[in-house]
Amino acid sequence: MDLVALLHYAFLQNALSASCAVAACSAVIGYFLIGRSFTFAGHALPNIGFAGAAGAVLLGVSPVFGLFSFTIEAALVFAFLGTKVHDRDLGIGIVMTFCLGLGLFFLALYSGYAERVYGILFGTILGISDAEVRLTLISSMITLVGVAVIFRPLLFSTADADSALARGVPIHFVAAVFLVLTAVTVSLAVQVTGSLLVFTLLVGPAATSRSFSRRPAVAIGLAVILAEAYAIVGILLAVVAKTIPVSFFVAALSFGAYLASRLLRKGKTWKR
């Protein structure tokens, strides 16, 4: 298997470039999700997005648009409801499964839907189109720029919301912007990992890197490197394996690294 030769193929180039962009965003966003105890969003948003993606397929449009619309709306609702939402497990679970059911409905109306279901659930990065790659690269750029702009207030309000508020930081606005950026990232990540496994790319890298350093810049940097590694290695392994999707390999790598970091750092306490 001559990987170098394979790299000439457009599909692989597309997959790699899109994934690298997404991985960077995911790692950064995931770092803050952990800090804000909002990792459940990495579970809820993709499922809600599933309905959007399915609807888009039915309309004959790229799933990414459906994902964007559903997840961004959901993110704004979460922002409006505040952190109380975290405790409403039951309500969130019911809404999530409703969205899965809704997505199922859209797809059932579309013939040949089993393939499509798998596509959204497991990820379709190896089949990503040129247009989608462009969309992904641009969106990722916007997301990273967005995070850079709100970086300091975001960091401050994540570490200590009360002090930040007292200092005049617009914490609610920053929170809303952050959630929208999360929604965008999740939507892009669904292309790589599918809606079932977004969590592994979103939260995994930062969860692992936080074991090694408390300093934000270092933790985020390390998380990005890990995420890129998972994405690239995952894609290459999937190309070799043929029937096994990229998302499985990303999940396996992510979990493996996380487990290793927990075992190596056993006994060292760190802020969750």
Binding site: V95, G101, L109, L196, A207, T243, I244, A251
Partner: protein, 294 residues
């Protein structure tokens, strides 16, 4: 239309659906009481790996799911409340995602092996009325009877332990054992619901009718009854629509999750409305007590 209603498939669907509904809602009543939504989610995800793994091996998904879930229950230790899990959401989230990842692996291998496997894979995820055949119904019936029998047997101590574990323990209720037993019942219920509504959607039927019932009444026997009735109502309507509805081939799961969300939403609204009225009415049952020293 007559023809459809008289067909075996319809009768099986009705029977299977009803059994699933009764089972899910009865177990769901306690799931809501014990605030185990997160644990339920966890069991579903871990069970997913078990279900898809056993299908890959050619077995009925029920066994893989129940087997792995029981292992998970034992490994995770006693989960009297979800709080222990919730405090470590990153840890648990990673484990769950990995379990989902395994499920994705197994399902991919299975689905790619043939076209019929592809669609039966979707059925594991989302359920299907057509899959409620004779042998499946028999398994469903046996599990339903077993779980419901155990539930009736432990009803009072489980209720006591769910509400006031310290007092219950003092009165001799084996609270830790009941914690495990209940989780196993929950795992079995989720596993056997795969056939009708699928792994991903089972949560709806377990949580929504019970959640709504809890908001409608505080009387436990009544709440249980209401939950079961709501569940049956949702299921029957869904089955009818799935067979006779305008779009024909729509899976049962869509109707069930939609009605579930609707019922729960309505119960929430009623609650909000009632709270507003209550805040305006004077507090009338606080009596003035005179303090007389004996």
């Amino acid at each position: 239309m007559e023809e459809i209603i008289r067909s075996d498939i319809f009768r099986n669907a009705l029977l299977g659906g009803s059994l699933t509904a009764i089972l899910c809602t009865a177990v769901g009543y306690f799931m809501v009481l014990r605030a185990l939504a997160f644990a339920s989610e966890a069991l579903t995800d871990i069970g997913f790996a078990g279900a898809t793994g056993s299908v890959l091996l050619g077995w009925n998904p029920f066994w893989g799911m129940i087997g792995l879930s029981i292992l998970a229950v034992v490994a995770l230790g006693t989960l009297g409340s979800s709080n222990k899990l919730k405090g470590r959401d990153v840890d648990v989230g990673m484990v769950l995602s990995f379990a989902l990842g395994l499920g994705v692996l197994f399902l991919s291998l299975y689905a790619r092996s043939s076209a019929s496997h592809a669609s039966s894979g979707v059925r594991i995820l989302f359920g299907s009325l057509m899959s409620l055949t004779g042998p499946v119904l028999r398994l469903l019936l046996i599990v339903a009877i077993a779980v419901l029998l155990v539930l009736v047997l432990i009803f009072r101590p489980l209720l006591f332990a769910s509400v006031d574990p310290n007092c219950a323990r003092a009165k001799g209720v084996p609270t830790k054992t009941l914690d495990y037993v209940y989780l196993i019942l929950l795992a079995a219920t989720t596993a056997v619901s795969i056939q009708a509504i699928g792994v991903l959607l089972a949560f709806s039927l377990i949580s929504a009718p019970a959640g709504a019932a809890h908001k409608l009444t505080r009387n436990p026997a009544l709440a249980l009854l209401v939950a079961v009735l709501l569940g049956l109502g949702i299921t029957w309507s869904s089955i009818l629509l799935s067979f006779l509805g305008p779009w024909g081939k729509i899976p049962l799961g869509f109707y069930i999750t939609s009605f579930s969300a609707l019922i729960y939403g309505l119960a929430l609204l009623r609650d909000q409305f009632r709270t507003r009225i209550k805040l305006e009415a004077p507090h009338h049952h606080e009596r003035e007590t005179t303090l007389i020293e004996d």
